[in-house]
Subunit: 344 residues, 4 copies
């Protein structure tokens, strides 16, 4: 079996989670997220974000979280602004539009949105009532390109959104990776402060399934559970989500797992940089995009699975490597070893 660097959801879950599932398995618990584990996990998250009036809900996956949040918050004629690399634009089969809402796309070099990207959109949507009304800014952290927001950037974007009556929603499918990046100066508290709504991704950070939606803006909290149920996302055995987040939130496991994934990617990055390899973008999370020769790609493909991301020229392409909470030193070292051997 080749080791796969294709994504961060190839393995099962962190053993603590399976252990907790085993220990609690025979208990009878109330259904639909009213079990004690879900309640405890929510309390723990509230502590970590330092915001007692936030509302928290657990759902199974990222597309589900995105479509529920956006369709709950917007009126029929309101739309979303997203970087063109946004997951909702490219990888969710039109899930947002299927709930009736347009997603406006903005080209950006690094997958991040800044006020300067959004201003032209607002200026070009003044022909009332003939155009959709931009109302929600969708960002990801870390982004789909592996980049992250700095605290100052997020604060500026947050201020801009509030001045312009736009909701700010952060897709946190890889929020752990974003926050534990060696260059991040953000924290969960700041994210709760700067966004109206965000989610903590579990699926890509050691859970079997699960994203924790956190609604910080109290204006949009009312009746949120109805939307979860209506979209088919309310699990009868909600304990499955609660138990997982309780384990992840205990003792910083969530951050430890993400940091591990980042560190493994950074090991490869540094090794490759040491051999003069260039990268498609300068990332500090668990996604890296080294530009290597097609010959090297062929060699590496004998041992590893990964995506060839973008053709650079006749001879070179960028590949995408993703590391996970479970990527071990053996795989990382082997990858480095082979690459260094080939590049020497």
């Amino acid at each position: 079996m080749k080791f796969s660097f294709k994504n961060d959801y190839s393995e099962g879950c962190h053993p603590n989670i399976l252990q907790a599932l085993l220990q609690t398995n025979s208990e009878q618990q109330t259904g639909y997220g009213e079990d004690i584990y879900s309640l405890q996990a929510k309390e723990l998250i509230k502590e970590k974000i330092q915001k007692a009036d936030s509302d928290i809900y657990f759902v199974s996956g990222g597309t589900q979280a995105n479509l529920i949040v956006i369709s709950s918050v917007l009126k029929p004629y309101q739309c979303v602004i997203s970087a063109s690399t946004g997951h909702i634009l490219n990888n969710e089969t039109g899930a947002i539009e299927a709930t009736g809402h347009k997603v406006l796309s903005i080209e950006t070099p690094d997958g991040k949105l800044r006020p300067s990207n959004i201003i032209p959109i607002l200026e070009n949507h003044q022909n009332v009532p003939h155009q959709v009304m931009p109302k929600l800014v969708y960002i990801s952290n870390s982004t789909e390109l592996g980049t992250i927001y700095q605290a100052k950037e997020l604060e500026e974007l947050s201020d801009f959104c509030r001045q312009n009556r736009l909701y700010l929603f952060m897709d946190g499918a890889r929020l752990g990776h974003g926050l534990t990046s060696e260059i991040s100066d953000l924290s969960l508290e700041k994210i709760a402060l700067f966004t109206d709504i965000f989610y903590l991704g579990g699926t890509k950070n050691g859970a079997l399934i699960g994203e924790a939606i956190v609604i910080n803006n109290t204006d949009i909290q009312e009746d949120f559970a109805f939307n979860i149920k209506q979209k088919g996302a309310l699990l009868a055995k909600g304990r499955l989500l609660g138990i997982q987040f309780l384990e992840l939130m205990k003792d910083q496991l969530y951050f430890d797992l993400a940091r591990h994934a980042n560190q493994q990617a950074m090991k490869i990055k540094k090794a490759l940089q040491g051999r003069g390899v260039q990268f498609l973008s300068d990332t500090y999370t668990n996604q890296i995009f080294p530009i290597i020769s097609n010959a090297l790609i062929d060699v590496l493909s004998e041992y590893f699975e990964f995506y060839v991301w973008k053709k650079i020229d006749a001879e070179y392409s960028a590949i995408r490597l993703i590391t996970s909470w479970n990527t071990d030193d053996e795989a990382v070292n082997r990858f480095i070893e082979i690459t260094e051997r080939e590049l020497s």
Copy 2:
């Protein structure tokens, strides 16, 4: 802790499932349902239904299965016919209507639909194009009232639907219980033969989450996966669903679990009948509705949790008891013992 007879999803899952999750946990598997466990589970189901050209997909829960199936199969102006007790009518927060489709409700005494129920609906929807077009018949087996279809009934309904160009869709959230009822003469093969589409419920029969949608009518198979993704139901770690159904389908575990649940309910039913207790409806699955005095309800409530379902008169009410794959003899015997003591 009081023992709960409130539903069949209070506990975790059958131990075999947790065991399989543990054993496979560290493996890297392809995402989105392309893992080997999902593929194996699908093969096993196809064997059991004896229909090689059926398509099978796993999703998390029943509301999700219902809304994906119905919105995939219908054109915008087509609608659903359901018994008034249908889960989609009462307990899914308008999930079907949220995808754009009306659900027509038919009052029936036992939660089952027969051609005679549907004929008047068809007759009253001839004012083209001013009315919705009935196109899909939604049934449940066992029903929301615990009743089941006999093979002859299902065949007649199936014939009627085909003659009238209606799709027949069976909600199988409790299909295991329906099939293993002591009075059932149906089988998975026959259900695959008589329905256009149905699902095998896992959540209420020993899985953590999971329903297996089986599309028998090849006309409606095309591109089904897009709908699953668009509704946010495609799990990145699809293995979670595949592993569970593989365990459930092996060695008839799925049926053993359901049969156990039914038998525990039947034990209570027979004991109560022995004391002259009447029932709201005559059921042979894991849901029973004994009519008992309010005084007895008060006594039982000290030891057990259950729903008081319907007031009969000033003195009597029907309660609903649901047993599960995990309801043990101790709870059942204790319930019988207390009831017999009080009724003697």
Copy 3:
């Protein structure tokens, strides 16, 4: 040609309207409802309802008005309550559900809703978040059965809705007929006072097309025009609607036309009552439902078109007769004459 009593939209429009279209035809006017005729017509309506802060919009037809109003006002998980005879339930091809909202149906003898009809619905929708949330009460005046609300009835229903945080929406496709019924004690002012939103129907009362939506509740006025545009209901030549409503609102033409229609129906009603004919329901608007013998139906069918509405027994059926702003005495007298001759 047989004279048709089938409906009130068989003819073109009142001649004043065509005259006004001719006179203004060559003028250049601003599009999309910003023409001076639309603005003037809105002012005139505001005067008549004595409510300066209401917002008014013109759309083409009743189904369009219903679907725009309901989808604009409700959140995704909220639903409508309607009498089972409601136009939105039976004659709009699921237009409301197509915008994502369930319509709950209540059986009533006369097509009218009272608080006592609604209370059980509210009581049966307490299982949060597993059920849709009833939020808007849809009524028609005159109703689809030709009956009308008395002021006291509407006030009670209005009070009930406000106490229960329900919006009250009146379909006024035949509002003129309702208000000019000989037994009506309602007025436009009272309707504006008692409803959150209603519309004045033009199509069935002498216009070519057109319904005037009046939003009285200021909480639901924001951004309404976006919804009209998004649903394809904003006419480029909005003058067509404005000119019509200006003519209808001038000099009470709207009410004169409806009163005429009612009076023609009442003439027939009284003549038939004089011959001992019974009616399916006791109406005082432009719809009447006499119960006559099949033999008489056959005779009348030689001269007139009308719907056979409901079979009463082997020998008798109720027919529906609708008169319009343009039904002349000749047709009415001839109908009476033939009937009296046959019944004598």
Copy 4:
């Protein structure tokens, strides 16, 4: 009053139409498009397109036509491809997305789509089932920029679409203008041959309201009327649409009106070209985009209304002039006169 060159829907309708409405006004006709005028108009259109098996429906406006066609033809996961200038992308308040479908935008210099524009979209949407499936190509003729398709271009696009199982849908809000352009070699017959579905715009070519949807592909004809009704677009007095199209189709009036509009624009174009004025794009229909100085814009604004379309530099801007079926020589000559005076 200043004369307006802002659009082609500022005036009422062609006098023949009002005359026909007057003459037929008192007749009783069947509702909902079953009147004799609608039936005759459909026959006349079928003759002109030389395609007897096409289905024809009349609706009120362009946004309505677009949303009904697209939502009827596509399955939930399928999407539209449009030039970035497409009306559905910019001026319809997200009407298409509100029916659940994404619209993919392609930048083109002239508002026209060619196979070479579409190929990359198809290549980038291969990640099944994680992306929407492109299924319908939306084009306009004339386009929103006033440009037109040549027969060869449309044929190539048509062939490409058929090879790739894409529907080709032409928005014909200004189809008359496209077909009567001095450089057009297309005809109604060819358009019926090359497209799966298109519409003949009435609103912008002398009707009060009205677009005639023509469905050429018999695979997508079934049950279309249901969609019209469900979206609130089926007029009770369908005669209003039938009578208008009957007048427009008689004796080539439709083409005469459009040709007149084009000719008036071309007169201005040629006069301005004679004075060395440049244009933003080279159009031969009723929309022209001359680039003139801000000083000249100020002078012209004293006499005329028009849109300043795009700033070119500090001193110059492009304006948009639209002429209509009713733009008379006086206005055109005056505009030319003032411009020539100022530019001399």
